[in-house]
């Protein structure tokens, strides 16, 4: 029989590695195509509801912050709590003065 010119070790070697490469390419194709067409975030009902809650919380906080703003109401003035913090500090540093009224008990 005539020798088979197509049957060479190189051809066999090539075919093996091309076959393996094709195998791996199938897996890579699945991975790449899926990742290409997907959004980063996966749907989750809990996360969606969480986003709704965050929006609501921000609305509530904004509404509450609006109530605490600086307002003039006739003779009195409404100030945000933070404006009084320094005042509270000063009050803490003052020492109690003698009121002139005697105590009931003597502290020794």
């Amino acid at each position: 029989m005539e020798p088979n010119l197509r049957d060479t070790p190189l051809r066999r070697f090539n075919t093996f590695w091309w076959g393996l490469a094709l195998f791996v390419v199938f897996g890579i194709a699945c991975f790449v195509i899926k990742n290409f067409f997907q959004d980063d975030e996966m749907y989750s009902a809990d996360d969606e509801r969480g986003k709704e809650r965050i929006v609501k919380r921000e609305q509530v906080e904004a509404a509450q912050a609006a109530l605490l703003e600086f307002k003039k109401d006739g003779d009195s003035v409404q100030v945000p709590p933070s404006a009084l913090f320094s005042l509270a500090g000063e009050i803490l540093e003052t020492k109690p003065a003698d009121s002139g009224v005697p105590h009931n008990k003597e502290f020794k």
Binding site: K34, F37, Q38, E41, Y43, S44, A45, R49, E52
Partner: protein, 272 residues
């Protein structure tokens, strides 16, 4: 035909359907956008993102491993594909005390609540389980009514009928135990099912599931959730059983959907 053209042909003829039917829909459906209720038609602007109670993930895994999907489906098909939506109890119920007719087809958000795999099902040798939780609630409600009547409990207070929850609380120990009902069904399916009036034998062909139960010593007053006493041992459900039962009693797919997603002929806009 050369080998080269052969391979190009194969890649094209396989690659196109693979892309169109499988890879691309898989990627795009991963981040499904939640629809919103409509201010005009539904009088609400809330997001439609139904969640499900119970041990959904654990229970779903055990449901898969035990092969429940061989005999049970969990989908209500639209009318072009079947009569599912008209069957009482499958897609919802006609007689929901608060909402009336809740029967609807299943949508994609019914399946994205903790389950990793949608158990559409292989066949309906057993009944569809998509709304098993609802059917169980209805059964519990009717059993509690009967028990309340038997005990002589008042079913109204100041002219207002008591809610099912109030009746159950009032009955205390005598209230219908949903979990125990399902535990017993999983243990010996043909003993606890109500008999069909037209047939004499218990009709269920559900499998007995001894793997869900362990035997413990029979002492004291006995375990609350013991399904049987056998050879002086109590048969109690194990953790897998609790997980799958928790999953089953929370199977409900008849919640309200936005008007734009309702396909019933009798759909009504809110407020009308």
């Amino acid at each position: 035909m050369t080998v080269k053209t052969f391979f190009y042909g194969l890649i094209a003829s396989f690659g196109l359907p693979w892309l169109i039917m499988l890879a691309v829909p898989f990627g795009t459906m991963r981040s499904l956008e939640s629809p919103r209720f409509d201010e005009v038609n539904d009088e609400s602007t809330a997001l439609y993102a139904p969640t499900r109670g119970g041990r959904t993930e654990n229970g779903s895994l055990i449901y898969a491993q035990e092969g429940c999907a061989m005999c049970h489906s969990q989908v209500t098909r639209p009318s072009y594909a079947g009569n599912d939506v008209f069957r009482e109890g499958q897609g919802g119920t006609k007689k929901n005390p608060e909402r009336g007719d809740t029967r609807r087809i299943t949508n994609a958000w019914d399946f994205s609540n903790g389950e990793k795999r949608a158990h559409i099902g292989e066949s309906r040798i057993g009944p569809d389980l998509g709304n098993f939780g609802n059917r169980l609630d209805a059964l519990a409600s009717s059993e509690n009514h009967k028990a309340a009547a038997a005990v002589g409990l008042e079913l109204e207070k100041d002219g207002v009928p008591l809610t099912p929850m109030q009746i159950a609380v009032a009955l205390g120990d005598k209230a219908f135990d949903k979990e125990l009902y399902v535990y017993k069904h999983l243990y010996k399916p043909r003993k606890e099912n109500p008999t069909d009036k037209r047939q004499e034998k218990h009709w269920s062909v559900c499998q007995s599931n001894p793997q869900f139960f362990t035997k413990t010593g029979n002492y004291g007053q006995g375990a609350v959730d013991a399904v049987a006493v056998k050879c002086d041992k109590q048969v109690v459900p194990n953790d897998n059983c609790r997980a799958i039962v928790s999953y089953l009693i929370n199977l409900k797919k008849d919640g309200a959907v936005p008007y734009a997603m309702q396909y019933s002929k009798d759909k009504k806009k809110a407020g009308k």
